[in-house]
């Protein structure tokens, strides 16, 4: 009877995510049998990158406001625009416009920035959730919107973006707590180590405005995050809800924020840079885990032991970006090597043949698709970080090939 109930529930779940649709079924079957059909072959990075960028364009076109739809879901289709991730997708579009010499991407990025301006609260904060949800200010989301606004200002020279960024920064400084953490206006009202990704935009704002309070707030938060780091590189307070088994996604956020902040604050060698050193410690632990197991789990415990058997693809590409950036700092080729392999794995999961606009070129939340992270969905941030990883990987490998006379 239990088996019958379990099977019935599984069937209900499959119907709920509309697994009967041919494109969904095809993908589900492929993940179930873990097949690598020619449709998911690995090609040159430029092909995978273009497919991901086209998917992001479709995600933008799926909403009427210029923002980028948060995700494509098997159950409900495209969702509404998401301010947080639209914020950090903007730099990717500007980068790709430069890379491809395609002005369209530049224009799209500006549209996104304009939409962000329209959803900013009077306080300067940006809302949590996507545009369809109830509007409430959120610290992390505000930091990510700032990443886009700062870049829009740099690309267009339009002061309106800088002003919005400054207001956002002021709000962040005003709601920061004495120990450097942000708790109020945060997910589950708790402090998160991944707020390093908020400190980093504040440092960028400081670089433009020379206003010391942005720098002070950022450093205070970074130092609080350092106090959360364990000797094995692990960060406490790294999860969305609790610390038991955070997603690789939030671990990678934490590392990235430290790394990029460190690069802005103390651009010396990693040995002298406490933030980069902290990022390196955690990244090396992940690299070892990945290389030994040849698989990157989607969630980890505090001993860096994988707790699940699915892979969080967003976290994977965020991690490869961290490894690639750390390679630039340290010239430790093991980090580059790990990034190349993990990027290949994510490339192999990108469907380049599907006829479905929500699937073609997108990056799943989890592999297999029913993994816990963005269950049966394609988040826009996975495609964004994947595109970034492709761009950075190509830049580094081409430079290496040129140096060795291979280009």
């Amino acid at each position: 009877m239990t088996l019958f109930r379990k099977t019935a529930k599984q069937l209900r779940d499959l119907i709920k995510v509309r697994m009967y649709r041919p494109s969904h079924l095809r993908l589900g079957l492929r993940d179930f049998f873990d097949l690598r059909l020619p449709t998911t072959a690995i090609y040159d990075n430029s092909i995978h990158l273009r497919a991901a960028m086209d998917w992001l364009c479709r995600a933008q076109d799926a909403t009427p406001d210029g923002g980028v739809a948060a995700r494509y879901r098997f159950s409900l289709g495209w969702s509404a625009s998401y301010p947080e991730t639209t914020g950090y997708i903007i730099p990717t579009f500007f980068d790709y416009a430069d890379l491809s010499n395609d002005e369209t991407f530049h224009r799209r990025a500006v549209r996104m920035a304009d939409w962000l301006l329209s959803v900013q609260f009077n306080s300067g904060a940006f809302p949590a959730h996507d545009a369809s949800a109830e509007r409430e200010p959120r610290v992390f989301n505000t930091g990510q919107a700032m990443r886009g606004l700062w870049r829009a200002f740099r690309e267009t020279g339009n002061e309106i973006y800088l002003e919005a960024c400054r207001r956002a920064g002021d709000w962040l400084v005003s709601v920061q707590e004495a120990d450097g953490a942000w708790r109020k206006w945060e997910y589950h009202q708790r402090a998160h180590a991944y707020h390093t990704e908020v400190a980093w935009p504040l440092l960028r704002l400081f670089a433009v405005t020379s206003c010391a309070r942005y720098r002070e707030a950022a450093v205070k938060n970074l130092d609080w995050v350092l106090s959360c780091q364990q000797p094995n590189g692990w960060f406490a307070q790294c999860g969305f809800k609790d610390d038991t088994a955070p997603y690789l996604h939030t671990i990678a956020y934490t590392i990235n924020g430290l790394l990029e902040s460190g690069a802005l604050l103390q651009p010396q060698s990693p040995d002298q840079n406490v933030y980069v050193r902290a990022a390196l410690l955690a990244s090396e632990a992940l690299l070892h885990r990945y290389e030994v197991r040849r698989f990157m789990p989607g969630q980890f415990d505090r001993h860096w032991k994988g707790t699940v058997n699915y892979s969080c693809l967003t976290g994977n590409v965020q991690t490869t970006i961290n490894w690639l950036r750390l390679y630039e700092f340290t010239q430790d080729a093991r980090l580059l090597n790990g990034a190349l392999k993990l990027n290949d794995f994510v490339k192999s999961t990108q469907d380049l043949q599907s006829r479905h606009p929500g699937i073609l070129g997108g990056i799943k939340g989890s592999h297999p698709i029913w993994g816990r992270y963005i269950h049966f969905g394609y988040p826009n941030w996975a495609a964004k970080y994947f595109a970034d990883a492709m761009i950075i990987e190509d830049k580094i490998v081409q430079a290496l090939y040129r140096r060795e006379g291979l280009a």
């Binding site: 097949l35 020619p38 072959a41 090609y43 080729a333 392999k341 794995f345 090939y401 291979l406």
Partner: protein, 316 residues
Amino acid sequence: MNIVLLCKSWNHHKALQILTALRDEQLIVRGIVALAEAAKKTTFADFVRKAYAMGDGNFLRGVLSRLHQNGMTKSAPEMHARNVHASTNGFDSAFHSSSTNDKTFSPKREDGATTITEYAKQYHIEMIVVNDLNGAESVVALQRMQTDVLLLGGVPIIRANVLSVPKRCTLNVHMGLLPKFRGMNVTEWAIFCGAPVGVTVHQVDPGVDTGAILYREEIDVSGCTNIETMRAKVSATQHRVLAKCTRLLAENRLVPQPQKKEDGKQYYAMHEKLRKIVDKKLSQGFTCLNSCHVLGLIDKVVQAREELGACALGLY
């Protein structure tokens, strides 16, 4: 001194080369403890399928290269390796027939022995086949053979329970110069980093290539034009060095030099894009750096050996 070889019963190539080198050094092998073929978790064909599925170019390149050498593939391994990601359909066409899929490959030898079993029979060496090299069966076999020195011939990670059995030590030969290059593909990594290529004989401890160093030998790879030829040259040297080292150890002419963890890094399988760089460097005639600058420990080892008067081998 009772010398025992630990190997896989199906990995004939490496084990046979070690046995031959030991014989050349006039060392008598007390016994062989081999992992049963039945203990293979997957068939050979499964490994290749998995390599295709995972898009593991390095692994596949190695496998196909060896298959090609043994006349089992239709076309050049390089071609298959390049197409590794392109199609799983390539798998079946990579083989002459499905019947070859599960064959193990071993070199043609002058003495005619092509398997460990045949070799053991021919030279009257006791051979015990076990289902788990780290299991009680293996420990009992090694104890019964009164093992003094245990040699590893291409085996998975050996646990402390087995490592504690030999009265003197367990030896392994590593295809890189320790302590700097630990782990996998270290010959390629040495070239990539512009460091000397070589082999190291070391005592085995529970870490990865972290045991005390007994002996190192640099190898001139300037004549090698690609990774395959370089690896073949290093591979040919490593068995000889392991055998010589075993003899020196038996004669009490080697002093173990402990490693420090921070003296080296653990490397992992190298990605295809980085292998291209290594191939390019080799094709341009890679030459080693002065090893004394790269590996300070060499001086100590040479010194230790000179004190023992063991430089007659002409190494270093």
